[in-house]
């Protein structure tokens, strides 16, 4: 297993973590969406490579969904949406770049420690894939909690889903039903979010989630 196949899979999964870090410090929505497209592109390459290595043709479908839907359709649609909403300016952040990056590094270290220790008996490819996948998931979560803008929270959520797809494809021979469902759920999630974004705009004249927080808690 420790051949070129393993190295390439490793490289691609590692790149996904790297791109997650790139997402963390983007402070413009345009740039963030571009980096997200790159994220999805790397995911597609990684899944396609897994399909080739595992000789599992159905994974090519997952790769194609990642490529067409996540790397092209969603970023383009969100691009148009933020232009229409007139919010392609800077992102406000809850905390600064430095602490976020440091926290991110801590999360990656945590997921390595947890996954590598737990999965000592699993085969090495799946094992490292899972560790990377957990890192991507945690970084996605981190992004969701550090951003205030609804669009960038959504991007955080979508990169979290990318981590899940990476984990699902790394688990060799996992039934197709799950990959399709993950892709499908992203689709539904996107529609839902789309509706909400427009509704939020209609009501509040902003997609800054901070504006929602005014109504938090008890009504007086």
């Amino acid at each position: 297993m420790h051949g070129i196949e393993f190295d390439i899979a490793h490289l691609l999964a590692g790149s996904l973590v790297l791109v997650s870090f790139l997402e963390l410090y983007q402070d413009r929505l345009y740039a963030l969406l571009n980096v997200y497209a790159l994220h999805a592109l790397v995911l597609a390459a990684s899944v396609a490579w897994q399909a080739f290595v595992q000789d599992a043709p159905h994974l090519y479908i997952t790769a194609a969904i990642a490529l067409v839907f996540k790397a092209i359709v969603i970023p383009v649609a969100l691009h148009r949406m933020i232009v229409r909403l007139g919010i392609h300016r800077e992102i406000e952040k809850a905390i600064g770049v430095g602490p976020v990056m440091l926290t991110g590094i801590g999360l990656v270290a945590l997921s390595m420690v947890v996954m590598l220790r737990v999965t000592q008996e699993a085969d090495p490819l799946a094992r490292e894939d899972l560790a990377f996948a957990l890192s991507v998931i945690l970084l996605g979560l981190l992004m969701m909690v550090t951003r205030r803008n609804a669009v960038s929270q959504v991007v955080g959520f979508m990169s979290l889903e990318n981590g899940l797809v990476l984990a699902a494809t790394g688990a060799k021979g996992m039934p197709l039903v799950v990959e399709i469902s993950v892709a499908f759920s992203v689709l539904i999630a996107f529609i839902v979010i789309g509706i909400f974004l427009f509704r939020i705009r209609e009501r509040f004249d902003t997609v800054d989630v901070q504006a929602l927080d005014r109504f938090r808690g008890e009504r007086r």
Binding site: V114, M115, R117, V118, T119, Q120, E121, A122, A126, L130, A133, L134, I137, L141, M144, A150, Q153, F157, L160, E161, L164, A167, A168, A171, K172, G173, M174, P175, V177, V178, S181, V182, S185, I188, A189, V192, I193, F196, R199, I200, R203, F204, V209, L212, F215, R216, E218, R219, R220
Partner: protein, 483 residues
């Protein structure tokens, strides 16, 4: 021939709501669709009941056993009565113009889709399929919570959507880890996700992977159950959505998420080397109970208050299942059933109260027993039941939880009793100002249907006085299954 009948019952659980969802999305006219909604849930209930008599063999995707048929019957029953309540509630919302006909059509379709998703989650034998169903249920409820399109409703829906999605994502990661643990033993492919296969082979799984998987599943599905540190979405979603949805959220969807957790708990229990899931569930359960009990004091919104009471009771149920053993499991099952019936009855009452008063603010309600005696006394009966006073059913189940805990872990029982008393005091403090005293606030007329509310309360009262031996035997059997 008999095989065909049993298969049809299981297919009916899924097909009837699915077909009804499509029909209700297409058909105009409120009266017709409300009746169709009730009819569809009634037919689903009949299918569910038939599972007691004939039961199909488990396949790779679907499974019916003693455990989930209990849940299915409870779900379809409350689904049916809530549809009855919803018919009069939504009629009023149409009259006052809070909802327009297209939204009502959408609402009915989503209601049936939610029923479909919950039934699918309950009878799924495949852990992947179960996850998909719970995700679907989450999405349908998100859409219904946001249906009023007000500031608060949108905020609640957004919060619910984001927190629910994160929970569901963590649960999927846990599911993948379970597959990873099963793969070396069961082999690649479909079998490694089939619950009936997993549970027989689980003792050979890698315990470390199973442990990790359970932590993710507990966090993920625990968010959906509304356990304490992960509960933030729950009060908002309950308070801002239409009241029938609050009733099914509290009474049913929380149970479905807990059911998923129980399935995985059984998986871990079958592996002696894996960590005991009990203490984790006990801790989260007690935390939810005590936290929610204190939060009950400062509630100003009536639906929000009962949402916190749901957190409290889900805490008790999780605690009971976490303790494990035949008696605690029995108590947990009974408490779950009683809570579903009582809490949905309370929401039926609260829905009408909010409609006649035109508000959900507790400060604007008062003297309900004078202005609307039937509604007022119904609410009082519901609160007496939910607070756990004799002779109603919740007293029985709480008594069982407490007494079984005293025998095994007296210190935990003290915390439990403390939480219960704090919650009881808070509920009566609020109830006093709502039900008695000078009538306050506007007085709309009632065109409520009281049948669903009193039917539930009658069942709860009956369970408190006399539990039929057949039901006891059934619950004992299921409690044994849970280990």
């Amino acid at each position: 021939m008999s095989d065909a009948v049993t298969f049809n019952a299981m297919a009916g659980l899924l097909a009837i709501p699915a077909v009804a969802a499509v029909l209700l999305a297409l058909l105009p006219g409120y009266r017709l669709t409300a009746r169709l909604n009730v009819l569809a849930t009634a037919l689903t209930l009949v299918c569910a009941l038939s599972l007691f008599f004939r039961r199909p063999a488990p396949g790779p995707y679907l499974l019916v056993d003693d455990l989930n048929s209990t849940f299915v019957v409870l779900t379809t029953f409350v689904g049916f009565t809530t549809a009855l309540f919803s018919a009069s509630y939504i009629g009023h919302e149409l009259e006052t113009g809070r909802l327009t006909p297209p939204f009502v059509r959408f609402y009915h379709a989503m209601y049936q889709l939610l029923m479909f998703a919950m039934n699918l989650a309950l009878i799924a034998n495949n852990i992947g399929l179960m996850w998909v169903a719970i995700e679907l249920a989450t999405l349908t409820t998100v859409l219904m919570v946001g249906i009023y399109r007000t500031h608060e409703a949108l905020e609640a829906a957004w919060k619910y959507f984001i927190l629910g999605s994160v929970g569901i994502a963590l649960a999927l990661f846990g599911t993948i880890l379970v597959y990873m643990a099963a793969r070396p033993v069961v082999g690649e492919g479909l079998d490694a996700m089939v619950w009936t296969v997993l549970v027989t082979r689980s003792r050979e799984f890698d315990p470390a992977l199973l442990d990790l998987a359970f932590v993710f599943l507990l966090l993920g599905y625990g968010t959906k159950v509304g356990l304490a540190p992960l509960h933030a979405w729950l009060p908002d979603a309950h308070a801002e959505g239409p009241t029938p949805i609050s009733a099914v959220l509290s009474g049913l969807l929380l149970n479905v998420a807990l059911y998923a957790l129980l399935r995985f708990k059984m998986l871990l229990a079958a592996n002696p080397a894996a960590l005991a899931p009990g203490p984790l569930m006990v801790t989260l359960g007690l935390l939810s109970l005590v936290f929610a009990a204190f939060m009950l004091y400062r509630r100003r919104d009536i639906k929000r208050m009962f949402a916190y009471s749901s957190i409290e009771h889900m805490g008790i149920i999780t605690f009971a299942f976490g303790m494990g053993g035949p008696l605690a499991n029995f108590a947990g099952l009974l408490h779950m059933t009683m809570h579903s019936l009582t809490k949905s009855a309370i929401f039926f009452a609260v829905g009408h109260v909010a409609q006649v008063k035109g508000t959900q603010r507790i400060a604007d309600m008062g003297g309900l027993t004078e202005t609307h005696p039937v509604l007022g006394w119904g609410l009082i009966l519901g609160v007496v039941a939910i607070a756990g006073l004799p002779p109603l059913g919740i007293f029985m189940s709480e008594f069982l939880v407490v007494s079984s805990t005293f025998a095994r872990a007296p210190l935990l029982a003290l915390v439990l009793v403390f939480g219960l008393l704090v919650a009881l005091a808070a509920l009566f403090l609020r109830l006093n100002s709502i039900a008695f005293g000078e009538p306050r606030g506007p007085n709309g007329k009632t065109d409520a249907s009281y049948v669903p509310m009193f039917a539930h309360l009658a069942l709860v009262l009956m369970a408190g006085i006399y539990l039929p031996p057949a039901l006891v035997a059934w619950f004992e059997n299921v409690a044994k299954l849970l280990g």
